[in-house]
C-alpha cells in the first residue's frame, strides 16, 4: 500500500457547492495495482470526489496528482487521456449507437484499425455482449447496460479505473458475475470502486476507505474497517434515522 510514488494522490482536495462542502480537504492515496473500495453513507461525498478525479468537476481547492503529474483542473478528456476511466453511477452510454459502435468509440488508443477491431472483439467477449453487438445500446436491459459501460471503461486499457456503484440495481447473481469480472479486470490495473454491497466488497477489495461528511473517516483492510466502531456508528446511526420517519 505504500509504494514509492502512489499512482493517485490528492492533497487537501475540496469541493464546495454554494454553502455545502461536499468534499472537505481530502488527502487520499492509492498505489499502483491496488483495488480500493470507497464506502460511506449517501451524501458522504464519494461521487463528488470521483467527479473531481475524472475532471467532470473542478475542485474548489487542493491538488490531484496522477503518477506524479499535477492534473488538477484538467478537463475530463485530458484526464481520460492520461489513462483514467470512469464508470458513472447511472450508465452513460451512446444510446442511439449499437453496442459494437459504443465499444469501438472507446478503443481509440489502440492504434491501427485492425488493432482496434481486435480490441473491440476482445472487450465484447469479456463483458459477454458479443451476441448483442448490433443492438442499439438504448435497448439493453439494465444489467447489460452496466456491463457495457464497464466495457467502455476497460476498452481504452486504462491505468486507473473509477467505478461508481458498478452493481447498482443488479440481482444477486449479476452481482457475483460482476465481482468476478472486476477481479479479472483488476489484474495489472488500479481500481477504485464506490460500492455499498458488502458482499461485493468482500469479494474484490484489497482495502477500503470510508467517507463521512466529505472527509475520510478511516482506511484499512476490509475486515478491519468493517469491525471499526466508528464506521458501524455512521452506518447504523443513519439506518435508525431513516427508519424513524
Amino acid at each position: 500500500m505504500t509504494g514509492a510514488t502512489p499512482l493517485l494522490e490528492t492533497t487537501s482536495l475540496t469541493r464546495r457547492f454554494g454553502g455545502v462542502i461536499a468534499v472537505h480537504e481530502v488527502d487520499f492515496q492509492v498505489g499502483d495495482g491496488e483495488l480500493r473500495c470507497l464506502i460511506g453513507p449517501n451524501g458522504a461525498g464519494k461521487s463528488t470526489f470521483f467527479r473531481c478525479l475524472s475532471g467532470q468537476l473542478r475542485p474548489t481547492a487542493g491538488r490531484i496528482r496522477l503518477a506524479g503529474h499535477d492534473i488538477t483542473g484538467d478537463g475530463p478528456h485530458a484526464i481520460a487521456r492520461r489513462g483514467v476511466a470512469i464508470k458513472t453511477q447511472v450508465p452513460a452510454l451512446f444510446d442511439g449507437l449499437s453496442v459494437l459502435e459504443n465499444v469501438r468509440l472507446a478503443t481509440w488508443r489502440c492504434g491501427s484499425r485492425a488493432a482496434r477491431r481486435r480490441r473491440t472483439e476482445d472487450v465484447l467477449a469479456t463483458i459477454g455482449l458479443a451476441r448483442q453487438a448490433s443492438r442499439p445500446a438504448g435497448e439493453l436491459p439494465h444489467g447489460q447496460r452496466q456491463w457495457l459501460e464497464l466495457g467502455l471503461v476497460i476498452a481504452g486499457d486504462p491505468r486507473l479505473m473509477l467505478l461508481d456503484e458498478p452493481t447498482a440495481g443488479m440481482t444477486r447473481s449479476e452481482v457475483a458475475e460482476t465481482a468476478d469480472l472486476v477481479r479479472r479486470l483488476a489484474e495489472g490495473r488500479t481500481i477504485i470502486a464506490v460500492e455499498h454491497d458488502i458482499q461485493f466488497i468482500r469479494m474484490v477489495a484489497d482495502s477500503v476507505t470510508v467517507f463521512h461528511q466529505g472527509q475520510i473517516l478511516t482506511e484499512g483492510t476490509v475486515d478491519a474497517v468493517l469491525r471499526d466502531r466508528a464506521v458501524r456508528d455512521v452506518y447504523l446511526g443513519h439506518g435508525r434515522d431513516a427508519g424513524a420517519c
Binding site: H77, A80, G96, L105, L152
Partner: protein
C-alpha cells in the same frame, strides 16, 4: 438492417444527385433552372445547419451570419478584383474564420443550447445593424460601396477560374450549384463515416461519455462549427452570384429562423431532411407567391403547426416511421 437502410439511402441520394445534375438541365427551361438554383443554394445552407445542429448539437441561430458574410465577402472581393476565383475562396474562408473565432469564444466556456442560440443570434444581428447603417459613400471597401439596407447591387457573377470573360450564369450556375450541393452532401456523409464523424455522432449521443473516453469535445465542436460556417459561407457566395445582389436582410432574425424551419420541417438529425425540407418550403412559398390564394404567412404558418402535430420530428423521420409501420403491418401480427 441498418446497413441495408444506409445502402438504400445512399442509392437514393445517388439517383437524386444524378437527376439534379444531369436530367433536370436537359429537360427544363432556363427560368426553372434559375429558380431551382436558389432552392439548391438554400439547401446547401440548410445542410450547414443540419450538420452543425443535428450532428454537432450546436443550436446556431447564426448560420445566417456566415451565409451573409460569405455573400458580402464575395461581393466586395469580386467587385474589387474582377475575377471570381479568389473571392469565392475568401467567401468560404472568412466565414469559417469567424466561426472559428466565435466557436473558440463559445465552446471553451461550455456555453450550451439556448444561451448559445442567443449569442449567435446576437452576433448575426450585430452585423445586420452595422451593415444596415453603412448607407453613404463614406462606407466603402476598395471600390465596393456597402450600401446600407439597400445592399450591394450588380455583383459580378462567378467566372470560369482564370477567365473573367466567361461567367457561370443561369443554366451553368445551376449545374455548378447542383454539383456543389452533391459534393457538400457527399462530403458530410463521408465525414460522418470517418473516425471523426463517429466521434461527432458520439458527442451528440452523450457528450459527457465522449469526454470521459478522452475525446476533446471542444475541438470537435469547433471543427464542426468551422466546417458548418464554411459551407454556409459557400452558400452565401452562390447566393450573391445568383442574384447579383446581397443585402443585410440575410442577417435578419426572419432569415435565420427560416433556416431553422427548413431543417425542422425535413427532420433534425438527418442530412437529406434538410435538403428536402428546404426545397419543399421554398417551393411552396414560391408557389404561393404565384398563386396568391391567400396570405402566405397564414398558409405557411398553419402548415408548420399541422406538420408538427402529425410528424413531430419532421418529414424524413416521419416517413421512415411510416414505412417501418407499413412493413410491420405487411409482415402481419406476431
Amino acid at each position: 438492417m441498418n446497413r441495408l437502410r444506409d445502402r438504400a439511402g445512399l442509392l437514393a441520394a445517388g439517383v437524386a444527385g444524378a437527376v439534379l445534375i444531369v436530367v433536370i438541365p436537359a429537360v427544363t427551361e432556363v427560368y426553372v433552372q434559375f429558380e431551382l438554383t436558389l432552392f439548391l443554394i438554400f439547401a446547401i445552407l440548410a445542410l450547414s445547419l443540419a450538420w452543425v445542429w443535428g450532428f454537432g448539437g450546436i443550436l446556431s441561430f447564426g448560420q445566417s451570419l456566415f451565409f451573409g458574410l460569405g455573400g458580402y465577402t464575395f461581393a466586395v472581393a469580386v467587385i474589387n478584383l474582377g475575377e471570381s476565383t479568389l473571392p469565392v475562396l475568401l467567401g468560404i474562408l472568412v466565414p469559417a474564420l469567424l466561426a472559428g473565432f466565435l466557436g473558440y469564444f463559445l465552446f471553451w466556456r461550455r456555453i450550451s443550447d439556448v444561451y448559445l442560440a442567443v449569442i449567435t443570434l446576437a452576433a448575426s444581428l450585430i452585423f445586420y445593424y452595422l451593415i444596415g447603417a453603412s448607407a453613404g459613400s463614406q462606407y466603402r471597401i476598395g471600390t465596393a460601396l456597402l450600401g446600407g439596407y439597400n445592399g450591394i447591387p450588380s455583383v459580378p457573377p462567378i467566372n470560369v477560374p482564370g477567365a473573367p470573360a466567361q461567367p457561370v450564369v443561369y443554366g451553368d450556375l445551376y449545374v455548378l450549384t447542383a454539383i456543389v450541393l452533391a459534393i457538400v452532401y457527399g462530403g458530410l456523409r463521408w465525414l460522418l463515416a470517418t473516425d471523426f464523424g463517429r466521434v461527432v455522432v458520439a458527442i451528440r449521443e452523450n457528450e459527457e461519455r465522449a469526454q470521459l473516453l478522452g475525446y476533446d469535445v471542444r475541438t470537435r465542436k469547433l471543427a464542426i462549427f468551422v466546417i458548418g460556417g464554411g459551407i454556409a459561407g459557400l452558400a452565401g457566395v452562390l447566393f450573391a452570384a445568383w442574384g447579383a445582389y446581397v443585402s443585410p436582410n440575410v442577417f435578419s432574425m426572419t432569415f435565420t429562423a427560416q433556416i431553422i424551419v427548413w431543417v425542422l420541417v425535413g427532420g433534425l438529425g438527418t442530412l437529406s431532411g434538410a435538403v428536402i425540407g428546404c426545397v419543399l418550403v421554398q417551393a411552396v412559398m414560391t408557389w404561393l407567391g404565384e398563386a396568391k390564394l391567400a396570405d402566405t404567412n397564414l398558409v405557411l404558418g398553419a402548415g408548420f403547426v399541422v406538420l408538427v402535430l402529425f410528424a413531430r420530428r419532421g418529414l424524413v423521420p416521419g416517413l421512415r416511421d411510416l414505412l417501418a409501420r407499413i412493413r410491420r403491418l405487411g409482415r402481419g401480427p406476431r
